[in-house]
Every structure is written in C-alpha cells, then in structure tokens.
Amino acid sequence: MGEMAIRTEGLSKHYGSVHAIEHLDLEVAEGEVVGYLGPNGAGKTTTIRLLLGLIRPTAGRAEIFGLDCQRQVVEAHRRLAYVAGEASLWPSLTGAETLHLLGRVQGRVDDSYRDELIGRFDLDPSKKVRAYSKGNRQKLILVAALMTRPALLVLDEPTSGLDPLMEQAFRHCVHEARERGQTIFLSSHILSEVEALCDRVGILREGLLVEMGTLAEMRHLSALTVEATFEGPVPDLSRIAGVSSVEVVGHLVRCQVRGTIEPLLKVLATSGVRELLSREPSLEELFLAQYGASSEDPDTQAHAS
C-alpha cells in the first residue's frame, strides 16, 4: 500500500444549477477494492468521468497514482483500465479486431491471459460487433480492460447485461485481480456484487458522499434485525430502549435494535422465547436506510433489487 491509487480533493462538477458532484473527498489506497454506490443520477458516472479526465471539474482536483487527472492524463491512463456500463463500439470491426486495436492503444497485453478471458467469458471474437448482443459487447469491453492487467481497474456498472454465469466469471476475475494486488474501483447498483467483492464502500447521494467505510464499520453504526418467536402471547417490545420498527405476525416479532441489545435480551429472557434470530443488516438495508426508504419491512426490501 502506501501510494494512493485514487485521491480527490474537493472535487465538484456543476452543470448550470445542477450539482452533479459536490466537494468530493475520496481516497482509495493501492490494492484496495472499493465499491461506489448510489442510485441512478447520484453522480457515480460523473465521478468516474472526472477521474478519467473525460470531463473537467468545476472545482477541486483528482489524482490517479499521484498523477493529475486533467494534466497528466496520458501517464495516468497507462496505469488504468476502464469498463463502461454501456458499450458503444465500432460495429464493422470483429471482436478480435476490437481487442487487437484496444490492446495496441493500451500498449501492453498479456496475450495468454486475453485468450483465457475470451474462453472464460465464452466470447466468439470472430463475430462482428454489429452481430453481438448487448451482453456480448459488454463481455468484449471487460476482456479488453482485464487483458492489460492494469494497476487500477475503474468499473462503471460493468456487469450490466451479463447473465448470472457471466456475472460469476466476472467476480472470479475481480478476485484474481485483487489477489495480484490490483486496485479496483467498482461503481454499481447491484448490491450483492459490491457486498461480495469490496473491502470498502462509499455511498453517494445527490452528488454528496454520505458514507464511506468498511461494511463492518457501517453495520456497526446501523441497526441489527432481531426476530423472535414466542410460545405464548407476544409482549410489548416497543418501549424497550434502542428498539424500533416492531412488527408482529402471530407469534413472530421482528424489530430493529440500535446500540446495545441487552435491554431487549432481558425482556425476551422472561417472556418464553422459542426461537431467536438476529442478523446484521445487509448492504441493501444499509443502502436503503441511507436513502430514507422505510426500513419497516426488510423482507420486501430484500426483494427490491
């Protein structure tokens, strides 16, 4: 570690009166896998386009491995690869020609790894891009990015259009990249993907970074979900310190607990509990809590994505 793969200071981007990104301070250490979350229009893609130097910040600055994202673009880009969620490619080129072209432009390609990736993603490179489905085009730009084994992978919703099998293959590749010490910046709204892959997570809301930390840290700050099944009548739990969102279905109670669980346990211990289940909030629940969605009904939320 040591050197920062990504560092932004007060990075802002305004489009007229719209503040797409507001005073963003972000640090991603070398070798880290960081998830970048937010709903559509929160500013995820704007952040990434600023990091890539495709658009210019209204204020603040961004660096990739200490290289300024606006002034040292070419040097910075030698060390990274980028995958967009929407792949617009040259329709008359074949897959193989596209990979050859993008590889030559990047300058260094691990040929055997490229062939391995083509096999893993089950891609037919002899077809013209025009004949590819959206998923296949996405696989093509994934291979084009991964095959260069960059120090930093910037991924903007990279698995859009991929089937679950390919999603697995993608996760495998990210794990490998992480083993090799590559840094990964993954913007996504597939929360299970982020949860499975990332060390740290940043949550963006209307252009502001509202949360940044490891999943463990975030969970610690968040509520615990407790489910208890009673043998007899259900006692009133809503007045216990730290307990909220109490929900009763027959003999089953579901509630959220913030802070220490001790007061609740005391009550439960004397109320004839048959079964007790507690779990940490999923990233999904953290995410939805952050966005002010009601956390009254975690079940429906779990199915929301």
């Binding site: 880009h77 617009s88 193989a96 072209l101 030559r104 077809k127 025009r130």
Partner: protein, 547 residues
C-alpha cells in the same frame, strides 16, 4: 395500410402509437427537405433571373441557343436544350439535370438514413415496442418520406411561382408548379430507391452504396442517350431520362409522369413487402456475421480512422475521377460554346482565358465544392465518434485528445490534397484524349487550387468541434452551403463585395482559366491551420459530450 395498422390497439393512445414511425420519419425528412427546397428555389431563381438580365436582346439569345442547343458535349453533361432563346427554356435546361442529380443524391441518402439508419441505431425498436408490424412500420416510414417530398415540392414551387411572376421571367403558375414537380421527381424516385435498398442491405452504408450505384447507372444511361449517338431511346430506360421527357414549361408532357409514378409505386410496394419478410434489424441479403480478423490498420486511432473511412473515400475518389474525366472530355466543345456568347466572352476576357481553360475554370467550382463536402464530412465523422461514445475507448487509454484530433485533421488534409491532385490529373487525361491542348501543369495546379477552401472549412469545422461540439456538423455544412450559395448567386445578382468576400469559394481563383492565386490560397490554408490549432486546444480543455 389501414389493414396493417389494425394490428395496433384500438384505443386513442394506440392510434398515436401506430403512427409514431410515420411522424418520426416525417419530422426528420421535412426538416432537411425544407432546407433543400430553399437551395433548389434559390438555384432556380438565380438561373432564371441571371439569364433574363444578361441576355436582353433577341440576337444574344439566339446566339446562346445556337451554341448550347447543338453542343453534344454539353448535352451529355446536363441534358438536351430546348428553346434556349427563352427564359423558360434556359432555366429548365440549367436546372433539370443539375437539381435532378442533387435531389436524387439527397433522396437516396435521406431514404437510407431514415429507414436503415434509424433501424440500425435501434430507434425503431424503441418507437415500435411491439405496437405494430415490420410491414406497417415500413409503410409508415414511406409515408413520412412522402411528407419530405411534399415539403421539398412546396418550398420549390412557392419560390418558382414567385420568381415566375417577375415580368422579366414570366412563367405561368401552372407551368411553374409543373416545373417544381419535374425538379423534385428525381428526389422522390430516389427516396424510394433508398427505401428499397434499406430492405436489401444490412447497413446504412451498404444501402447507400447500392442506391448510389442505381443513380450512377441512371446517369450514365441518360448521358449516352443525350450524347447524340443515335441512342435516344435509352432515355426511356433511365429514371433521369424520364425527367427530361417531362419538358416542363417548353413542351410539357405530363404522361412522362406515368413511369415515374409507376416506379415509385413498385419500389414502395417491394419495400413494404420485403420489410414484412425479414426480422427487425435484419435484411433480405444478410450481413456476414463475422470474418477473418484484418488487424493491419487496427493499430491505433489513426489506423482505425483510415480503415473506417476507406470505402467512403474510394467512393468520393471514383466520383472526382469520373467528374474530372467528363469535364476534360467536354472541355473543348464546352469552351467554344462559352466563348461564342457575347457576354460570356466579356466575362471571360476579364479572366484572360478562352476556350477549354475558361470552361474548366468555371467548372472547377464544383470540384471545390466536392472537396469541401469531403472536408465537412470529416468533421461530422469526428463528432459522431464523440457523440456515440466510441471516442471514450481511446481517451481512457494513453491517447491524448490533441493527438487524436490533430491526427484526424492531418489525415483529412492529406486526403484533400490527394483529391485535388486526382481531380487535376483526371481532367487532364480527359482533355488530352480530345487533344484539347491544355498543359498538364496548369490543370494539376487547378486541382491543387481547389484544396485551400476545403482546408479552411476543415479548420473552421475543427474550431466549432472544439468549442461547440453539438453545433459542429450544422456549422461546418452551414459555412459550406453559405459559401456556395453566395458564390453562385453573388456573381449574378451583383452582391455587395463584403458579402461576396464571406464566401470561401469566392476567394479562390478560377484556375485553370487564370493562374491560381497562391497567396490567397495560402491565407485560406493559414486560416484553416490557425482555427484548427484553436479547435484542438479547445477540445483538449472541454468536457466530452454525448448526443
């Protein structure tokens, strides 16, 4: 069409949805048709007014009629002349063939753009979303194109009628309306050709090439028919020949509208039929889904640029070569016709040239326009790469923006110089084959002489691309059309020299009639270079912008 539309839901919302393709197509077709209607009208008006004011006496007009009316070389180029001693005859002769070809090119490009192009881009899928059948969608698109033809006719007709009311010109209203029909007939036919080609070929480019080939053959047949070689019947084989048979104003033959209408009907019927028999996004003759990798040019942005524009440039090259050859072939007879007209002689004596050189000097304006179109096409292609997001693939890799754009501009400049040399060389070939006696050096110089305006347009285009990307295509073609119209109209109407000076083509010497003015050419190139540098700098410091 009603039966097919019945596929849609019966609700009023459904009816809205079932005409969505027609309205979408009509909106785009009408927009460009109105613009071209003004160009058609302006050209027509200029020709009529110019003739009326330059040739006032009967003897002058008789002389013109005698010279041009019997000249096979000129007949082959722009069609046979009838009643050149009248404003009507002269206007029809000057407009019908020229605007016919321009209209046909517009028609085939618009037809393929709005059918195959929109389908290729996936917009039909969005518009249709299962509301209608492929067949009905094509019928709707054809109806939309029909709206475009109507708009083209209305604008052309209004201007023609207005000009006809001038006492010097004096066209009857019905005659003017029929002239407008004749002028837009080629556009209508080739819109239908483009529509059919869009069913046959899988990409817009292939469809345009296919429709362009039909136009080429039609033009060649018409040329042979009008060359005085005793093959007049060939006129009935070429769609462009039918338009001549209409003979608006001089000896109107409305029955020649029958083959025209018949062809349009057959093409539309085939279009709808074939559309029903293929998949959305598919074509009657399908694309090869894959091929062996040709990686020679896939080495970087420049190589890719050359590879992608290769076929387009070959097409332009063939066009320039053919046009140059024809100009060379007819230069001798064209030149003698020019110099025998009294006022032309006066004008040409100012140029200090006579005969073939004078003819070529006037005709090379078109070469300059062709090169400028190639130049503007390069700017709009650059913008298209950015707007579609394909440029991102380079810019997120170690490629700087300035090297990307500068490289493209450099390649474009080389292409323009090659185009100029090709124009000169082919014109010389044609001229030499007729023992016209023009020197190779003078014609080659004339070829190079048309390059500076194109380079200037390239630079201006680069500046707009750098500073106001979304305006780049419109602005670049705008400069081109403005320069052309001012030069065309200005010489006739006697525009103020400040206005004339805004035309890039006006700055160009009429080589080979006179010596190329290399100093002014150098200034144009310098303006192009400076604006290009500003453009590249601005591009390096702005946000990338999508559509």
């Amino acid at each position: 069409m009603q039966a097919e539309l019945a596929m849609g839901p019966p609700a009023s919302e459904g009816r809205w949805a079932t005409t969505v393709v027609a309205r979408h197509t009509a909106r785009k077709a009408v927009r460009s048709a109105v613009l071209w209607g003004y160009v058609f009208g302006a050209y027509l008006a200029t020709q009529a007014l110019a003739y009326a004011s330059s040739y006032k006496t009967i003897s002058e007009r008789a002389l013109i009629a005698k010279e041009f009316g019997t000249n096979a070389g000129i007949s082959a180029l722009v069609g046979p002349a009838h009643e050149l001693q009248t404003v009507a005859g002269f206007t029809v002769w000057k407009c019908l063939a020229v605007l016919g070809v321009v209209g046909a090119v517009w028609g085939l490009l618009t037809g393929t753009r709005l059918l195959r192009g929109e389908e290729e881009a996936g917009r039909w899928e969005l518009l249709l979303a299962g509301q209608t059948t492929r067949r009905a969608a094509s019928a709707q698109a054809l109806a939309g194109l029909g709206g475009g033809v109507a708009a083209l006719w209305v604008v052309t007709a209004v201007i023609t009628v207005l000009v006809g009311r001038s006492s010097k010109v004096d066209f009857s209203v019905s005659g003017a309306l029929f002239l407008a029909v004749a002028v837009v007939a080629a556009a209508a036919m080739f819109l239908a050709v483009g529509a059919l080609a869009s069913q046959l070929a899988p990409t817009r480019r292939q469809a345009s090439t296919c429709a362009g080939a039909v136009l080429g053959v039609s033009y060649a047949l018409r040329m042979v028919a009008d060359s005085g070689a005793g093959l007049d019947w060939l006129r009935w084989v070429s769609p462009l020949g039918w338009i001549e048979q209409l003979q608006p104003l001089t000896a109107p033959h409305p029955f020649a509208l029958l083959p025209i209408a018949g062809l349009i009907a057959v093409l539309c019927w085939l279009t709808v039929r074939l559309a029903g028999e293929r998949d959305l996004g598919g074509s009657t003759f399908p694309d090869r889904p894959g091929s062996v990798a040709h990686t020679r040019l896939c080495s970087g942005p420049l190589g890719l640029n050359i590879r992608l524009m290769r076929s387009t440039l070959v097409g332009w090259g063939v066009g320039i070569a053919a046009y140059g050859l024809i100009l060379g072939l007819v230069a001798k007879s064209g030149g003698s016709a020019l110099s025998s007209s009294a006022s032309m002689k006066r004008a040409l004596s100012r140029l200090g040239a006579t005969g073939a050189l004078a003819y070529l000097g006037v005709a090379f304006l078109m070469m300059a326009v062709i090169l400028a179109i190639v130049s503007a096409g390069q700017i709009s292609a650059s913008r298209a790469e950015e707007a579609a997001g394909r440029l991102d693939h380079f810019l997120v890799r170690p490629v700087s923006r300035s090297s990307w754009l500068a490289g493209r501009l450099l390649v474009a400049t080389v292409v323009l110089v090659m185009g100029g040399l090709l124009a000169g060389a082919c014109t010389w070939l044609g001229a030499a084959s007729q023992h016209t006696g023009v020197s190779f050096a003078s014609v080659l110089d004339a070829g190079l002489n048309v390059v500076p305006p194109a380079v200037c347009i390239l630079g201006i285009g680069a500046l707009v691309f750098g500073a106001w990307p979304r305006a780049s295509t419109v602005a670049t073609y705008g400069v081109l059309v403005w320069s052309f119209l001012v030069e065309l109209i200005g010489g006739v109407v006697g525009l103020n020299h400040w206005v004339l000076d805004t035309s890039l083509f006006h700055q160009m010497a009429a080589a080979p009639a006179v010596h190329p003015d290399w100093a002014t050419g150098g200034v144009l190139v310098a303006i192009g270079a400076v604006t290009a540098v500003f453009g590249v700098t601005a591009f390096a410091h702005r946000d990338l912008r999508g559509e």
